[in-house]
Structures are given as structure tokens and as C-alpha cells.
């Protein structure tokens, strides 16, 4: 009996009970589909995060408070004016082109009776050049504004759309935490950069932000641009030494800040999303095991129901191996078909999910077809057929022809 004959006879065996075969593979379909969706969304999230981090450029080093538990950097007592001044000294950090300081806060922004829940960011004039934040209308924050802690604001595209529909915002007054700020500029649509939504933000001079929103002279984080990529490691060390000195950290004590080059941050975020995806895949794998046990169960029922057929096949010349192969191929076919259906549904659902995320979150989410997931899914499906099919198939093969023919 050739292999194609075995496949043919396995197909015939399965097609006699199509409904049952379909129900049997449901567990496999759901398992493979889940793996596909998780891998696709995981890859999409990873791509989004990495693109965002990459968009800053590879010469950027982040400095933040190490005592924070992730999330957007909040102003803390860790980073202050003295740190900024020392970091800006060429004697301390010789390869720094630019040292930017910022502080961030989620706040409700109001204009008259209109309100918008967005972000308020304290910045310096250098941000205009560093992140191409030239206003579409009006002016950007100036050195004078920072020096005098002027109560002025540059607003993002969405803030303008929500608070000033059909109205010129320049010169109008917006309020944050009962403080009034005069709008001096409006940014064009910027989307996201480093996972920060510029369109949903308003920007204040850093000093104004510290005085009105924060009530403290601290910063959330520093962004340092290095003159050349090859100086990144040396600059990281320079920054650490400078901050350990300003923070008065003794030898043997841990840093109370964190210094991360862009590449490290990308790696770390990548590891987090991969870890999370693996966890979800492990959960999905449980359904595959359950599906596999279901396959074994149904194959045992099938072997029992078809005992006389097995006896007949043996009587007309089937060897034990022929029977083993027939039932094993049936099991693999079941799981393989389940795998293919799972892959197709998984692909469709993850495409749908990617579109929905893009639509409803406004993120720059891209659909990633999980080719890895597809290959893994198919291999796993076939392996499940093999592992859970072998016991019923062996049982079938070992039946004695006379007993099988006598079976009622």
C-alpha cells in the first residue's frame, strides 16, 4: 500500500463521519487560532514599540528615576536643576550634543465649557528642533518664556480639534488645574513619537510646568543626544558618574536613576512583549493539549466502531503496519486540517484585531502576519496528531483478525 493510498483511505475513513470529525478538531482549531492571534498581536505590539523607540534615533540616551515602576516618566525628586546643569557641562559629559529635560503629567485641559483629557508636558525651546515641533500656526515656546515662567501653551492637533472646533485658538485661554495659559502656537498633526501622543498634549515652558502643575523644581526625565553612536557607552558612563556625584551616592550604593541608550530600551521593551506573548502562547497551548486528548478519545471510539472493518482489512491482506498507518494518518489529518483552519481563522481574526486597534486607539498599529506562528501552529498540530494518534492506531493494528471479524 503506497503512502497516497494510505492518505486516500484515511480520508475515506474520516469523511464517513464529517460532522464528528469537525467537532473533534474544534479544540485544535481554537488552540492554533489563539496562538496565531497572540503571535500576530505580540509582533504588532513589538513593532509599534520598537518603531516608536527607533523614531527617536539611535544616538539618544534616556535618564529616568530608577525607583519608578515603569509607565510614563513622572516628575520625581530624583532629577533636578543641578543635575541638568552638571550634565550640560562639557567637562562632565563631553560627547553630549544636546541635553533635554522634560516633565509630564496627565491632566484635564479645559476651554470654556469644553474639556479634554490629555497630557501636559513641560519642555524647553530645544524641543522644537529636536523633535520637529514647528507650529503650524503661531509660535513655539521661547527661552524668554522659560526664563519668565510665562503662562503660555502650545497645543497639539487633537487638543485643538476637540477644544476649538471652527475657532482660532491663538490668544485664547486654556485651563489646567485652575491655572490659565494663553495659547501661542498650534502643532501640526504629529502622531506618536516614542509612544508619546503629541496630538493629545499641550506644551508649557518647563519652568511654568514646575511652578503651576508640579509645584516642585524637578524633572521627569532627561534625553541626551550623543554626537556619535560610537560614544554611547562612554557617555552612559559619564552621565552615571555625574549623577552619582550630584546625588551624593557613595561607593557600593545603588544608583537612584537609570541611564538607558535607545538600543537598550528597545531591547528591553522587546523582551517584555516577547515574554508576554510567550505567556499567552503557553495558555493557548493548554487548549491544544485538551484538543489532543479529544482527538485521542474520538480515535479510540473510531477504532472500536470500526473493529470489523479492521478485521476485514487484515483478512484481505492489510499488515499491522498498514492499519497503524491508516489510523495514524487519520489522526494527523484531523489535527492537520484543524491546524489549517486555525491558521486561516487566526490570520483573519488577527487582521481584524489589528484594524480594530488602529481604528479605535489611533495607534500606528500594523498587521503582522505571524509566519512563525503559522509554521509552529502547523508543526504543533501535526505533532499532536502523531502523539495522541499513536495509541489508538497501535490498538487498531494489534487487533487479531479473527477477534476483529467476530466483533459485534
Amino acid at each position: 500500500m503506497t503512502f497516497s493510498d494510505s492518505i486516500h483511505s484515511a480520508y475515506k475513513g474520516l469523511s464517513t463521519s464529517k460532522g464528528r470529525s469537525l467537532l473533534t478538531i474544534l479544540g485544535i482549531v481554537i488552540g492554533i487560532m489563539s496562538i496565531m492571534i497572540v503571535m500576530s498581536l505580540g509582533a504588532g505590539a513589538q513593532r509599534l514599540i520598537l518603531d516608536q523607540v527607533d523614531s527617536l534615533g539611535s544616538k539618544i540616551i534616556f535618564v529616568s528615576d530608577s525607583r519608578q515602576a515603569g509607565g510614563p516618566p513622572q516628575p520625581t525628586e530624583s532629577l533636578d536643576d543641578r543635575d541638568l546643569t552638571e550634565l550640560r557641562k562639557k567637562t562632565n559629559v563631553p560627547n553630549a550634543n544636546l541635553v533635554l529635560a522634560s516633565a509630564f503629567n496627565a491632566q484635564r485641559i479645559t476651554y470654556g465649557s469644553e474639556a479634554f483629557d490629555g497630557a501636559v508636558q513641560g519642555i524647553t525651546p530645544e524641543w522644537e528642533r529636536a523633535f520637529s515641533l514647528t507650529p503650524a500656526q503661531g509660535d513655539f515656546i521661547s527661552d524668554d518664556d522659560v526664563r519668565s515662567s510665562a503662562k503660555v501653551a502650545v497645543i497639539g492637533y487633537t487638543v485643538r480639534k476637540e477644544l476649538f472646533p471652527g475657532e482660532d485658538p491663538i490668544g485664547q485661554i486654556v485651563k489646567v488645574k485652575n491655572n490659565s495659559f494663553r495659547v501661542i502656537g498650534v502643532l501640526p498633526e504629529k502622531g506618536m513619537l516614542a509612544l508619546f501622543g503629541y496630538d493629545q498634549s499641550i506644551f508649557l515652558p518647563i519652568s511654568t510646568f514646575q511652578n503651576t502643575i508640579l509645584n516642585a523644581k524637578n524633572y521627569g526625565n532627561f534625553l541626551i543626544e550623543v554626537d556619535d553612536e560610537k560614544n554611547i557607552n562612554a557617555t552612559v558612563e559619564d552621565i552615571k558618574q555625574t549623577l552619582r556625584f550630584t546625588h551624593n551616592i557613595q561607593v557600593g550604593e545603588d544608583d537612584d536613576f537609570e541611564v538607558q541608550p535607545q538600543a537598550d530600551l528597545a531591547d528591553r521593551l522587546g523582551t517584555i512583549t516577547t515574554g508576554f506573548s510567550l505567556f499567552l502562547i503557553a495558555v493557548a497551548a493548554i487548549s491544544l493539549v485538551v484538543g489532543g486528548v479529544g482527538i485521542m478519545n474520538i480515535m479510540l471510539v473510531s477504532v472500536s466502531e470500526r473493529t470489523r472493518e479492521i478485521g476485514l482489512r487484515k483478512a484481505v491482506g492489510a499488515t499491522n503496519k498498514n492499519i497503524l498507518m491508516q489510523f495514524l494518518i487519520e489522526a494527523i489529518m484531523l489535527t492537520g486540517v484543524g491546524g489549517i483552519i486555525g491558521i486561516i481563522l487566526g490570520g483573519l481574526f488577527s487582521y481584524g484585531a489589528a484594524q480594530a486597534i488602529k481604528q479605535f486607539s489611533g495607534l500606528e498599529w500594523s498587521f503582522e502576519f505571524p509566519i512563525q506562528g503559522m509554521i509552529i501552529g502547523l508543526l504543533v498540530a501535526v505533532s499532536i496528531g502523531l502523539v495522541f494518534g499513536i495509541y489508538p492506531a497501535r490498538k487498531a493494528a494489534q487487533k487479531s483478525p479473527t477477534e476483529a471479524l467476530r466483533y459485534e
Binding site: 475515506k12 476485514l312 482489512r313 483478512a315 484481505v316 491482506g317 503496519k321 487479531s400
Partner: protein, 238 residues
């Protein structure tokens, strides 16, 4: 002429928990090529055991069995399966057909396990179906056929590999007399064309279709005689 089947003091003993059952005791017989032999005996006499041993579906416990001169005692399961495929054909009381397959597919089944080249399959299947006069039913699902037709499909399946001997185990047992006679007529036709047939039955009328009757009782061969008054074709079997 060299005998096709030679059985010398063959016994089949089933071992149970602390007891043994002798289903066949010291059976000695020969069957020559081209013979139509009926093995007759009451229910439980051991005739099915004899058929299973002769048909290589079961191994005998002691004694010697030569099939076409070849001692089958030490053959592996796979070698026995190949011998069944090449040399033996089976017709069972309950037909044992694949109900959801066509007549054609059922008759083709043994070819899957044979060494016969695929290009010859169609001719062999068609010839076998023609031999049992079921050409007009070739594409029918067997579950749509009458009992007699089903048994003729089983006979065609037994013929398709051109076996040296056909074993028919109570082939008319599940049929009415008319269908039963049609099946017996088919077997007689095949015999007249040279086939060797071993028929198992407990019905004297059915046995009269054969040219020789071996009687078996309590596992022992108790008689072996030529049939003098052989049934005529078309005569009722029950």
C-alpha cells in the same frame, strides 16, 4: 496433483484462565486445486476455527499446515497477511463490506494491499464485478443493495486478486432462499471455471452444492465423502 492444502494432525487450543478449550483436534485433511469442498457441522463444532486456521486468520497450536506446499507455521504476521492477500479470498456470512463505499471501491479494497501494479487494478475490479454479474451496480453504494447482491460483491472482492482458494463462511446464512441460491450459483460458476472453494455451512442443502463434504463435530473431523447427489443449479438451498 500436488495438494493445495495439507493439514496434518492440526489442533487449535484456546487458553483461558486456568482452563483450555480444544476447538480443533488432530484435524488431518487435504484439498486439491479446483475442488469445491463443504465443511459441515453443527454450531460450535469447530468449523469456523478450522476456516480461520486454513485461512491464516489464526495460528494453529500444534500440527503441520502446508499451503501450496509451504509450511506456514513460522511465518510472521506480515508474511501471513501477504499470503492472505495473494492466495486467499474470503466471503463472510455478514458480508463485511464498507457500507458507505461503492461496489467498485469495495471490490478494489484487497488491491490496496497487493503487489499488483496500479494500472491493472481497473481491469481486475471490472472483471471481478462482471464475474458476479453486478456490472450494472458498479457505482452503487453497497448499503443500497439487497442482501444477495451484497454477498456477490463480497465474492467479487474475494476474486479480485485471483486467489488460489476462496473461503466462504456461511455465505447464505443471512439470505433468503432465492438470494442464497443465487450466491451458491455464483460460487458454482466460479468452481466450474476452475476456482477452488471451501464452503463452511451447517445446512445440508447448501453443502450439497459442493462435490465433497468434510464433516466436523466437537473439533474432530468425523467424515469426508464425495457428494453423490449434487444439487442442481437453481435448486433451493434452504
Amino acid at each position: 496433483m500436488k495438494p493445495l492444502i495439507e493439514l496434518e494432525r492440526v489442533s487449535k487450543i484456546y487458553m483461558g484462565d486456568g482452563f483450555e478449550t480444544k476447538a480443533l483436534v488432530d484435524a488431518t485433511l487435504t484439498v486439491n486445486k479446483g475442488e469445491f469442498v463443504a465443511i459441515m457441522g453443527p454450531s460450535g463444532s469447530g468449523k469456523s476455527t478450522l476456516l480461520h486456521v486454513l485461512g491464516l486468520l489464526d495460528r494453529h497450536t500444534v500440527g503441520k499446515y502446508l499451503l501450496s506446499g509451504r509450511n506456514v507455521e513460522n511465518l510472521t504476521d506480515d508474511e501471513l497477511a501477504n499470503l492472505r492477500n495473494e492466495k486467499l479470498g474470503f466471503v463472510f456470512q455478514s458480508f463485511n463490506l464498507l457500507a458507505k463505499e461503492t461496489v467498485y471501491e469495495n471490490v478494489k479494497l484487497p488491491l490496496f494491499y497487493s503487489q499488483i501494479p496500479k494500472k491493472d487494478w481497473a481491469k481486475r475490479v471490472n472483471d471481478a464485478i462482471a464475474a458476479v454479474k453486478l456490472d450494472h451496480r458498479k457505482e452503487y453504494l453497497v448499503q443500497k443493495l439487497s442482501g444477495g447482491e451484497k454477498q456477490r460483491v463480497a465474492i467479487a472482492r474475494a476474486l479480485v486478486c485471483n486467489p488460489e482458494v476462496i473461503f466462504a463462511d456461511e455465505p447464505t446464512g443471512n439470505l433468503d432462499s432465492v438470494s442464497g441460491q443465487a450466491v451458491m450459483d455464483t460460487l458454482r460458476d466460479l468452481h466450474e471455471k476452475g476456482a477452488t472453494i471451501l464452503l463452511i455451512t451447517h445446512e445440508p442443502n447448501t453443502a450439497r452444492n459442493a462435490e465433497r463434504i468434510i464433516r466436523i463435530k466437537d473439533g474432530l473431523v468425523v467424515g469426508d465423502e464425495k457428494v453423490v447427489d449434487r444439487a442442481k443449479k437453481g435448486e433451493a438451498v434452504k
